[in-house]
């Protein structure tokens, strides 16, 4: 009883000791704030990292293919069993994206993913990160009329407007050429060529008509438009719709057409309206979803404020160049129409991924078996049910998947291991450093307690004279240290939690005081600082801090316990 009473009285009467635990308080508060903010950031980061990575991926090694994805999928379903939520197949390829911006060509390396628009969204967090409101609900590769809330103009209206202005421009250029030619002709007419001696050029004077070049007539032929513009009639490929819709103009049979060796299509120019084949006002190429950061660049507006410049908008066409599959590689080039953007705010993903329809990419890369019509894929992506142990399932797959050693089977965490472990290391080091602050506070307590023991020597003597055992005297000071620790930690916890709760206001305040924004949402992609307070973390920090306070009071308490009562009483 006297131990508690005296600990309590010392706590209440010795404010200098409270000063020594201010560092405990600050250390605890800082630990809680740092851990909460880091946990918030890590959580957000993991969400985003996980983003378009599936839980588990089975990849064919060395960029080769998985020839029969359905067979593989069946085996996977069998092995994983109940834990399986969904799976999808993807084709992955490095590619070169090129487009025009302000008349300048831009090229950029991207990782091209052929995805199945039905299942990909079920396996990964793909849809929530799209910018189009309609596509967030139900994803497909067609350009939308509306829903592009992030852009001032986008989608079909923009595409039509752009095609119209291109058409107007072309017409203007044609008219310009005509005017120029007329003027040039007039000039030539009015200024007949003259011989060096001044006499008019006889030939042109005699023959005012321009020189005409004629080619030997080639064998007459009837062009087959269907051959000239091969269109595959694959109704399953909805993205080829644009090409299917194209109705080639009918030529009258028997009509003779002259073919130019320089421009084999010249004879068609007048007869076929190219816009009937592919009209940008009406048709789109196969859709592509680009990472937001691929075509975005930071710039400054007139007032010096940073703004995002979108070099591409939904509705623009881009050129994509990539290699075909197989041993004999060749470059394939194809046009795609940007239908949406992927914006996870993970720069690594947003700046490198582009998504196109799986079947289209398989066809373009020559991955479809000519006999069985089965397209091979690069990887099978698997989503497990919530709560399933990723590592366990991965190990199971590795153990049971036939020929597992030829495949690369990994979880998304394995894929992002370097980044995740770096963040973990960072967090660990921060915690160690901050605990060192509390340890420093421990030495402060140690010093203060030695002073207090010296000051209380006589009281210790009195207590011993009254029959208090050494252990009791010791526990007074241990209890004192513990109560100091508890008070310091308690205040620290309250401070820390309040700080975490109002962290955005605090950031604003600091920003206002220093005139410099502490947390710029533009760079962090969060509207506010994310925080997660884990009760376990708070408890561990509190226990650690109290432990340090108690440990620091052990030495002074031992000294107090060892005091000889007579000498302590004589002390004056």
């Amino acid at each position: 009883m006297y131990k508690l009473l005296l600990s309590w009285r010392y706590l209440r009467t010795r404010f200098i000791a409270l000063a020594s635990i201010v560092s405990v308080t600050l250390g605890v508060a800082t630990l809680i704030v740092v851990n909460s903010v880091m946990a918030g950031f890590v959580d957000q980061m993991k969400n985003r990292l996980h983003g378009i990575l599936s839980d588990i991926e089975i990849e064919a090694p060395l960029m080769s293919d998985i020839p029969d994805p359905e067979l593989h999928a069946d085996v996977v379903r069998q092995i994983i069993g109940d834990d399986l939520q969904d799976l999808t197949c993807v084709v992955r390829s490095h590619a070169l994206l090129s487009f025009e911006f302000h008349g300048r060509p831009w090229t950029q390396h991207v990782i091209l993913l052929g995805i199945d628009d039905e299942t990909f969204g079920k396996v990964t967090d793909f849809e929530p990160y799209l910018t189009n409101e309609i596509k967030k609900e139900r994803f497909n590769f067609t350009l939308e009329e509306t829903g592009y809330t992030r852009f001032d103009r986008a989608g079909w209206p923009y595409r039509r407007e752009k095609a119209q202005s291109k058409r107007d421009f072309d017409r203007m250029m044609r008219e310009h050429d005509q005017l120029y030619n007329q003027a040039a002709q007039q000039y030539v007419d009015n200024h007949p060529l003259q011989q060096p001696d001044g006499s008019p050029a006889t030939q042109s004077a005699q023959n005012n008509e321009p020189v005409k070049f004629e080619f030997a007539p080639l064998p007459a032929m009837t062009p087959n438009i269907n051959n000239a513009f091969p269109v595959e009639n694959d109704p399953s490929d909805a993205n080829d719709l644009a090409e299917n819709q194209t109705q080639p103009p009918q030529h009258l049979p028997g009509q003779t057409v002259m073919m130019s060796p320089f421009d084999p299509h010249a004879h068609l120019r007048d007869k076929v309206n190219l816009e009937d084949l592919f009209d940008p006002m009406r048709d789109q190429h196969a859709g592509i979803v680009l990472g937001m950061a691929i075509s975005e660049k930071k710039s400054l507006d007139e007032d010096g404020n940073p703004i995002d410049v979108h070099m591409l908008l939904p509705g623009d066409d881009v050129q994509m160049m990539f290699l075909s599959a197989g041993q004999q590689m060749r470059a394939v080039s194809e046009e795609f129409t940007v239908v949406d953007f992927y914006s996870s705010n993970m720069h690594e993903y947003d700046s490198s991924f582009a998504f196109v329809p799986l079947s289209k990419l398989q066809k373009l890369r020559g991955m479809v078996d000519p006999l069985s019509k089965v397209g091979s894929v690069s990887a099978i992506q698997i989503k497990l049910k919530a709560g399933a142990d990723l590592d366990a399932v991965r190990d199971k797959l590795k153990a049971e998947f036939p020929g597992a050693e030829y495949y690369d089977i990994r979880t998304w965490q394995d894929t992002q291991r370097p980044l995740l472990s770096a963040v973990q290391l960072e967090l660990t080091i921060l915690n160690i450093l901050l605990f060192l602050i509390i340890a420093v506070a421990g030495f402060g307590i140690l010093a203060t307690f030695f002073m207090i023991v010296v000051e209380k020597t006589r009281d210790i003597g009195i207590l011993k004279a009254l029959g208090a055992p050494s252990g009791g005297v010791m526990s007074i000071f241990l209890g004192y240290g513990m109560s100091l620790g508890i008070v310091g930690t308690g205040v620290g916890i309250v401070l820390g939690l309040v700080f975490v709760n109002y962290i955005n206001q605090v950031a604003d305040l600091v920003g206002w005081l220093t005139g410099r924004e502490v947390f710029d949402p533009q760079f962090y992609f969060f509207s506010e600082i994310p925080t997660i307070v884990s009760p376990t973390m708070v408890l561990l920090v509190a226990l650690g801090a109290i432990m340090i306070a108690v440990l620091a009071s052990v030495l002074p308490a031992l000294r107090a316990a060892r005091l000889h009562p007579v000498e302590a009483l004589r002390y004056e």
Partner: protein
């Protein structure tokens, strides 16, 4: 003075040769000491303080140990109260040797059998008068036992404080009390455990004559009322006349 003469003869009976386990102890002696030696070290130098002290303290007596400063009287009292251990010799309390007891038993003795009063009162400055008186009980009991008995202890402590004339200052801290008041509080504290022996180390040494007299009166009154054995150490010859027995200590031996 007859008491004095008697007391001075008593220790001489148990001479150095008779320091043994079969020492004859007077039937009515609550405490007895035989061949007690104690020295202190000042650096390498050994300073002998007690050079073989033999004495007996009778039950119910008011015994005064008188000696000049440096005669070793305080050391003797500390040894009697088991606050210190002798270099040689034996100390008996109720026919039981106490200087060799384990520290736990010594603590129990100090707590419940001996009451101690010091020249500098030695109250705990953080506690009120009442709490100071209750400290021996707090030390004696465990946490829950104390809480259980708290009401009873408080009543008893209040009674004791009223008895020593401190009933009106229960909630005061020591620094708000005068020297006499502090010493009376210390007396109340020494009595709370109902000890059989009261050991007083110059209880009036730091008080003016009026307060000193008051304290002394309290002590003598106690002895009469409570049938308590009181051992008082002092250098003041004038205090000796109230005691039943006077022991003179000169240069570490009983005169």
């Amino acid at each position: 003075m007859s008491d004095l003469a008697m007391s001075t003869t008593k220790p001489t009976r148990s001479s150095k040769s008779s320091i043994s386990s079969n020492i004859r102890i007077a039937k009515n002696a609550v405490m007895s000491v035989a061949g007690l030696k104690k020295s202190y070290f000042k650096g390498q130098l050994e300073v002998p303080v007690l050079k073989g002290v033999d004495l007996e303290i009778n039950t119910g007596d008011f015994t005064t140990i008188i000696g000049q400063s440096g005669s070793g009287k305080s050391t003797l009292l500390h040894l009697l109260g088991t606050l210190d251990a002798p270099d040689a010799g034996e100390i008996y309390f109720n026919e039981q040797r106490i200087d060799v007891l384990p520290s736990r038993k010594k603590e129990a003795l100090r707590n419940s059998e001996f009451g101690m009063i010091f020249q500098f009162y030695h109250l705990l400055p953080e506690l009120t008068t009442l709490e100071n008186v209750l400290v021996p009980k707090m030390v004696q009991d465990g946490f829950f036992t104390y809480l259980y008995n708290k009401r009873e202890y408080k009543r008893k402590a209040t009674e004791l404080l009223e008895m020593v004339g401190m009933g009106h200052r229960l909630r005061h801290k020591p620094n708000e009390l005068s020297g006499g008041e502090m010493q009376r509080t210390a007396i109340a504290r020494s009595l709370i455990s109902e000890p059989s022996v009261l050991l007083a180390d110059e209880p009036t040494g730091n008080l003016d004559s009026e307060n000193g007299k008051e304290v002394l009166d309290t002590l003598t009154a106690l002895r009469k009322n409570e049938n308590l054995t009181v051992v008082m150490v002092t250098h003041d010859e004038s205090l000796a006349d109230k005691s039943d027995k006077v022991i003179r200590l000169v240069n570490g031996v009983v005169e």
